[in-house]
């Protein structure tokens, strides 16, 4: 029985539990002539949950632990002699698994029966060939010891799987039955299932924490490594970014942070006003037809791969800005510039601002609008003075999301703003950002253990801390503002 089928059995039991629990609640209530504390379906849910959750947890644990234990068991049977020089036990174990799997398939395809198998010996029969027939390719011929290990792997695995199946079904039945017995009209079934759902909700919100934890740990280790190789003071305070191959690089983060900030700023300067105006127009002014077309259409902008924007910046916008603005104004002759990347990125960010804001603007109750119109306000006054403040929390969220995306964007910057790290004010000059350098240092040619590559992790962590600071600041400002205006 595969885990999939087992899961299906548990699910079937769960569904059965649901109906049995529900029915028992109804029957008892009828017999005792009392009212149910909760809805009948809540009793069903409670029984179903008790049937499913412990069983599935057990199954998960088993699936996780079985290979580990099995591996331990079997790998002790493999003599060191069959492990190739420089190879690893784990690879031999992979072979063992593959052979065992192949034997299952052989039996399954009717090519062999169990007796044949147990009498089969690696030194006499061409096991590699037979397994190849059923589509299991092996790297080399099979050592007898490995074959024996595979056989015992197979038998232990078989027993263990059988045990697992029995245990899981027993747990499902047992807990389900206990829960079913518990069903009485006075049982607070709704609370049971709601507590459960609530813990699911809490669990879900912890995913974010876990992700952060994962990110920090996966960056921290190599960052520490980096700072052992490269002085932190230089990294944080040097204004030069100039990595070299054979050491002696200058890896100052400041020009990158500046570039990140500058490009994002330009992008938001375009995306926020335009996005907001689109949201306002679609929510307040436009007809249904335009709205139902324009909103999803503009959302496509968020789905165009960033590389397309990058090419657009590189081929169209960059040369255009150079020929029509930078050169006539004497501001430089670079076709990649902060402005190029910023503008193109701004276009990509428009839907982040427009669509989310549109939804919150749309959710402002009509009574607010009526109140304002009733005072003789024009529509735009109503929007600016009444609707926007009411929708502000959501709009701030949308803008923060857009800002976040701007900071994290790579491809557009590579192609639009260039790869040269520079501290400067001229928006028509090439600059680059932290993310660009994370990608390029990480995917480059330099050796991994060199500061030139490891700096990517330090950059990632720095950016993380930097945006964390910005977010805390934003939260603080939003709170402050809300206090003021409420």
């Amino acid at each position: 029985m595969t885990p999939g089928i087992l899961a299906i059995i548990v699910l079937v039991l769960t569904v059965a539990g649901y109906f049995l629990g529900r029915q028992r609640a109804l029957a008892l209530a009828k017999r005792e002539g009392v009212r149910l504390h909760s809805l009948p379906s809540h009793y069903g849910q409670a029984v179903a949950l008790f049937t499913a959750v412990p069983a599935l947890l057990l199954m998960g644990a088993w699936l996780f632990l079985q290979p580990l234990l099995l591996e331990n068991q079997v790998s002790s049977q493999i003599p060191d002699s069959v492990i190739p020089e420089g190879g690893a036990r784990s690879l031999v174990m992979a072979d063992v698994r593959r052979i065992a799997d192949g034997m299952d398939r052989l039996v399954g395809s009717g090519g062999l029966n169990e007796d044949d198998l147990s009498s089969m010996r690696a030194d006499f029969s061409n096991i590699r060939g037979r397994l190849a027939e059923v589509g299991v390719a092996l790297g080399s011929d099979v050592e007898p010891a490995v074959f024996e290990a595979a056989k015992s792997y197979r038998s232990i695995a078989g027993t263990s799987t059988l045990l697992r199946n029995i245990a899981v079904i027993a747990v499902a039945l047992g807990f389900g039955f206990l829960a079913w017995r518990q069903v009485r009209p006075a049982m607070r079934a709704r609370n049971v299932s709601e507590t459960f759902i609530r813990s699911l909700l809490i669990g879900s919100s912890l995913v974010a924490i876990l992700t952060t934890f994962g990110i920090v740990t996966s960056l921290l280790f190599e960052t520490i490594h980096f700072f052992r190789l490269y002085p932190a003071s230089e990294f944080f305070f040097s204004t030069v970014w100039n990595p070299q191959f054979r050491g002696g690089s200058d890896l100052g983060v400041l020009p990158l942070l500046w570039g990140t900030f500058y490009v994002s700023f330009v992008a938001l300067l375009l995306a926020v006003p335009i996005g907001l105006m689109i949201a306002i127009y679609l929510a307040e002014y436009s007809g249904k037809a335009l709205r139902s077309f324009a909103k999803p259409a503009i959302e496509i902008l968020a789905g165009i791969p960033t590389i397309v924007y990058g090419l657009f910046a590189l081929i169209t916008v960059g040369p255009f800005l150079r020929d029509w603005i930078a050169q006539p104004l004497g501001l430089g002759s670079s076709s990649s510039s902060v402005l190029t990347a910023g503008l193109v990125m701004g276009i990509m960010l428009i839907p982040f601002v427009s669509s989310l804001s549109d939804d919150v603007i749309n959710a402002v109750p009509q009574a607010m609008r009526d109140g304002s119109y009733g005072l003789g306000a024009t529509q735009s006054e109503t929007i600016r003075k009444v609707i926007m403040p009411a929708a502000l929390p959501g709009i701030v969220g949308a803008i923060l999301l857009a800002a976040s995306r701007a900071i994290g964007e790579t491809m557009i910057v590579v192609m639009g703003a260039g790869a040269a790290a520079r501290l400067g004010l001229n928006p028509l000059e090439a600059m680059t950002t932290v993310t660009v350098k994370i990608v390029s240092q990480l995917t480059g040619d330099t050796e991994f253990a060199s500061p030139e590559t490891l700096v990517a992790f330090a950059l990632g962590l720095t950016l993380f801390v930097f945006t964390l600071g910005l977010n805390i600041l934003a939260l603080y400002i939003v709170r402050k503002y809300r206090e003021q205006y409420e």
């Binding site: 009574a367 109140g371 024009t378």
Partner: protein, 271 residues
């Protein structure tokens, strides 16, 4: 509770019998909400500088008619208005007219209080600000204070002018909305049950305000309280099932109505 002193009756009779210019005139006003017809050809004249009360059972179309008078129904998608309504002889449903100006001249207090999610101060200062009625801080302070005074709310909220208007009690919100409407001093004020959430004292205060406003403004008020209609209005219109049943001087309506339904309604025998 005795409502009308003789003197008051006298005065009312006089003002109601004054020929009085019609400030607003509705001709054959019909309203549909989608399929459903809510008003069936209402003809009604609102005399200038008087108070007109609209009465009638719940759901008969009072609010609907009131909302027609400053085209507030425009905001309801499914609502269609027929017939014509004149303000000072100009058709307010003429496509060329300026709805904003119309609403500035015909203000409204809604049935459900709807304060803006802003501070109490800003709720009131909003109107004067958009109409440019005040510019200096001190002017705004003054408008806010006098408007709140008139609505009888100032004392209760004077310490919390900068707290949100949505944190007020039901009755306070209602008075806030009244204050907000009078702060822009429109020519006509439409009030949809302005006292429904108010205690008798606050009600008296608002009624006093209405009486005062009548000097300069035209007022249309929807009310469910016969006593209130009798106390504050010079003329009364009675609606029933989307029809205007009858309209006339208030005292006549309450003493000697032409229509049986009016009679029944005001004596509480309806139904």
């Amino acid at each position: 509770m005795n409502m009308l002193t003789d003197a008051a009756v006298e005065e009312k009779l006089q003002s109601a019998s004054k020929p009085g210019v019609s400030k607003m005139v509705g001709k054959d006003v019909t309203v549909h909400y989608g399929e459903k017809q809510a008003l069936f050809g209402v003809n009604l004249e609102v005399p200038e500088k008087q108070v007109m009360a609209l009465i009638g059972p719940s759901g008969c179309g009072k609010s609907t008619f009131l909302r027609c008078l400053n085209r507030m129904n425009d905001t309801i998608d499914i609502c269609r208005v027929g017939g014509s309504i004149m303000l000072d002889g100009e058709d307010i449903y003429d496509p060329r007219i300026d709805v904003v100006e119309l609403r500035a001249r015909v203000g409204m207090v809604f049935q459900k209080p709807n304060p803006f999610p802003k501070s109490i101060y800003e709720n009131i200062a909003y109107g004067p600000r958009i109409h440019g009625l005040a510019s200096k801080k001190s002017e705004f302070d003054e408008v806010v204070e006098t408007s709140l005074q008139k609505a009888g709310l100032f004392n209760e909220v004077k310490d919390r002018l900068h707290e949100p208007g949505t944190g007020l009690s039901g009755g306070q919100q209602q008075r806030l909305c009244i204050a907000r409407a009078i702060a822009v001093s429109p020519e006509v004020i439409l009030m949809d049950e302005p006292c429904s959430a108010l205690d008798p004292i606050a009600t008296a205060k608002v009624e006093e305000l209405i009486d005062e406003l009548r000097e300069n403004y035209t007022i249309v008020i929807v009310t469910h309280s016969m006593q209130q209609a009798a106390r504050v209005s010079q003329r009364t219109a009675m609606f029933h099932l989307g029809n205007l049943v009858e309209e006339g001087p208030t005292d006549k309506m309450f003493t000697n109505p032409d229509d049986k339904r009016t009679q029944d309604y005001i004596t509480g025998r309806f139904g």
